[in-house]
């Protein structure tokens, strides 16, 4: 909250002798100034809050995780008991564990919103491709970390999640079996598996931190995008990060922490599964095995590929249904890497893309339906019900719905995104952030006529 608001170039800032001595050896102060003065578009909306929230959750997860690791025992005979000891005997152990368990889910919630924001506003477009790719790498690392962390309590769901997910690799022709054996360190998921998962679950978050640093470095090289999708041109378009976005991020963080705290204190097991409070039993699979909610859409895509048409030549000769499902599941993530090429539109923001905007929301709904499908038994007839408000039968099995929505998922990326980009006639773009085009409708109507000085003009 200091006088940074109006300062100019970092090198012009006067410092004390000690500060100068340090600065010449390690540029601490100029780095801090860079972050506080970082020129940020002044029109960022609340959807831009989620990046900093994700960073906060990452730190919170590492801190709680380190404390949990001090009490946890990675051994099949002790893992479950040591978690119960944390819950019952360790001071505030229940709090730290529930923060960590729910924090994982919260992390995905935040990152998914961050990702969909990027998709809506075209944040993957030049010159921000590398930021986007690094972001997807972070997501992939998060998934690996979350999956291995879920195995650690060594409950029934832990064990069977480990078993099913590692078995995905057995679908790879010829080398699949060797790969799963290598992953397990044995004939099935067992103590060696638990040990290595613990080690990697501890390691990967720090790798994520490293990639996050690159993600931010790339961001600060090309500067932030904004809801209009036109680059900041003059100082009029930007404001310094501090205090403007520090306070806005703090507000967003407060709202986020309220949601997180609600789950931790009042519904700590809402996003978990009861079966994970049964110790792992390698001889009995639970009746309904379901991944955590943040993996449900991928799970639905995996299951959408059944033997039906894969048993006939020549498809049967080329690929098994199992392998096709695995490829589709990983493909559903990897296809995001291609967004900079798939999106052929000249315009970044969906605000000015009337047709794409509709299909964006259709895509969001498609992923939510995929999530529903992932949570339900494939061969049951789908009922759509919401908290007792309505309940109707679709007449289709969840599998069929899963196949349709999986098809749409890929259709969206492979066909719709490139085709709409070519065909669509975007609405007129504003000249700059501070002068949106007149009569542009919803966007900051009449803002061009503003005469009050912006903060940058005060300097």
């Amino acid at each position: 909250m200091s006088a940074n608001a109006g300062h100019g170039a970092p090198q012009g800032t006067p410092r004390g002798r000690t500060a100068n001595w340090i600065e010449r050896r390690l540029p601490v102060f100029s780095t801090m100034e860079h972050f506080s003065q970082y020129p940020t578009p002044k029109n960022l909306n609340y959807w831009w809050n989620f990046g900093s929230i994700a960073g906060f959750v990452l730190v919170a997860m590492i801190v709680t995780g380190i404390v949990l690791a001090m009490h946890y025992t990675p051994h099949v005979d002790h893992a479950f008991n040591s978690v119960e000891r944390i819950m019952r005997d360790v001071n505030y152990g229940w709090l730290i564990r529930y923060l960590h368990a729910n924090g994982g889910a919260m992390f995905f919630l935040v990152v998914y919103i961050h990702l969909f924001r990027g998709l809506y506003y075209g944040s993957y477009k030049a010159p921000r491709e590398i930021i986007w790719w690094l972001g997807i790498i972070i997501l992939l690392l998060m998934m690996a970390t979350a999956f291995m962390g879920y195995v650690l309590p060594w409950g029934q769901m832990s064990f069977w999640a480990a078993k099913v997910i590692t078995n995905l690799f057995s679908a790879i022709p010829w080398v699949g079996e060797s790969i799963t054996t290598w992953l397990w360190g044995g004939f099935t998921v067992d103590n060696p598996t638990l040990n290595r998962f613990f080690s990697l679950h501890y390691l990967l978050p720090f790798v994520i931190v490293g990639v996050v640093v690159l993600h931010i470095a790339a961001l600060h090289t090309v500067k932030s995008g904004n809801p209009l999708g036109v680059e900041a041109k003059t100082p009029k378009d930007t404001i310094p990060f501090h205090p403007y976005y520090t306070v806005k991020d703090l507000f967003g963080l407060g709202v986020f922490m309220l949601v997180w705290a609600f789950f931790v204190f009042y519904a700590p097991n809402f996003m978990g599964h009861p079966d994970n409070y049964i110790p792992a039993d390698s001889l009995a699979t639970p009746a309904h095995i379901v991944p955590e909610w943040y993996f449900l859409p991928y799970y639905a895509i995996l299951r959408a590929f059944t033997a039906d048409f894969f048993m006939y030549w020549p498809i049967s000769w080329l690929i098994t249904a199992k392998f096709a499902g695995v490829i589709a599941m990983f493909g559903s993530l990897l296809i995001l890497f291609l967004m900079p090429w798939l999106d052929t539109s000249e315009v970044r923001s969906s605000r000015f893309r009337p047709i794409y905007k509709i299909f964006f929301w259709v895509f969001v709904i498609d992923t939510i339906i995929l999530g529903y499908v992932g949570a339900n038994a494939p061969d049951e007839v789908a009922h759509i019900a919401l908290l007792g408000l309505f309940d109707f039968s679709t007449g289709l099995t969840w599998l069929t719905i899963g196949e349709i929505t999986t098809f749409w998922y890929f259709f969206h990326f492979i066909i719709l995104v490139p085709v709409i980009g070519r065909m669509e006639r975007p609405r007129p773009l504003p000249h700059s952030i501070s002068e949106p085009v007149l009569g542009g409708g919803a966007v900051g109507g009449g803002a061009a006529a503003q005469s009050r000085p912006g903060p940058m003009e005060k300097a």
Partner: protein, 273 residues
């Protein structure tokens, strides 16, 4: 306008997203038979355990359940924290045989101490399985958390036994024929598949002495409810602390977030965007 609409959309997405996880986590087990709904004292944001009920529940557990089921994540010392007196544990502690090595180096047993877990009365899992038709009775420490439907399901199960005749009439097996419990099996409305190896544990009124002052009549339903409440405590001993702390944290965060919002508006007052 734009902002209102996007917030509304975000809300819809969030609700729909979470509702997607409901089928797995909220649905009661047992072939879609909805569990009975009890107004538990520990439900709700201000819920607490009813101490008198927990004590009665412990008596039911000690007299009835403990003859087959352990409670190994709960230690006798934990019982002190919910107000169960050592004299109420004494009988079980002396009857349990905890393994130890004596001064001569022989493997012997001793009575349980306050620092010991509440174990099942079997030497090991194999012995437990042998004594119970080949399947060891599950440990009850986490049973309320480990079953969909939680306390309601456990209470429903304990009070949901039906006669073999009713079973044949009401329920069909996977082969479409009427379900018939064999010897050593029982029939239960709420158990998934209805055929259960556990005989009705609570069968007659007054099975457990409720001799405390002001105690309710020991009906089967009352005993089932009390022991379920006890097991709910055993599964979540932190529940009261958690809810109490939760209230403070939520209030604190509300004020803090409010302050952040006011400052945010203050700082942004002059920025047109």
């Amino acid at each position: 306008m734009m902002r209102v609409r996007s917030i509304f959309l975000a809300g819809v997405v969030a609700v729909a997203g979470f509702a997607g996880t409901l089928p797995s986590s909220v649905m009661a087990a047992g072939d879609g038979v909805k569990a009975k709904s009890v107004d538990w004292s520990f439900y709700g944001p201000f819920g607490t355990f009813d101490r008198a009920q927990i004590k009665r529940g412990w008596k039911v557990y000690a007299k009835v359940c403990a003859s087959c089921h352990g409670l190994k994540h709960v230690y006798y010392r934990h019982l002190l924290t919910i107000g169960i007196e050592p004299k109420a544990m004494k009988e079980m502690m002396t009857s349990r045989k905890m393994p130890m090595i004596d001064d001569a180096g022989d493997a012997v047993t001793r009575a349980a101490k306050l620092g010991d877990p509440i174990t099942a009365p079997f030497a090991n899992d194999v012995a437990a399985a042998k004594a119970n038709n080949g399947k060891a009775p599950p440990d009850l420490s986490l049973i309320v958390k480990a079953r969909g439907g939680g306390a309601n399901y456990i209470y429903s199960l304990l009070t949901g036994y039906v006669t073999a005749a009713a079973c044949e009439k009401e329920y069909k097996g996977s082969d479409g024929k009427p379900l018939k419990p064999e010897s050593g099996q029982s029939c239960n409305t709420y158990f998934p598949g209805h055929i259960i190896a556990m005989a009705p544990p609570l069968a007659s009124e007054g099975q457990v002495d409720y001799d405390e002052k002001g105690a309710p009549k020991a009906t089967v339903s009352q005993m089932a409810m009390d022991v379920t409440a006890f097991l709910a405590w055993a599964a979540e001993p932190e529940l009261e602390d958690r809810k109490r702390m939760g209230l403070r944290v939520m209030l604190f965060l509300l004020i803090l977030t409010g302050l952040f919002f006011v400052i945010y508006r203050q700082v942004w007052r002059r920025v047109k965007h």
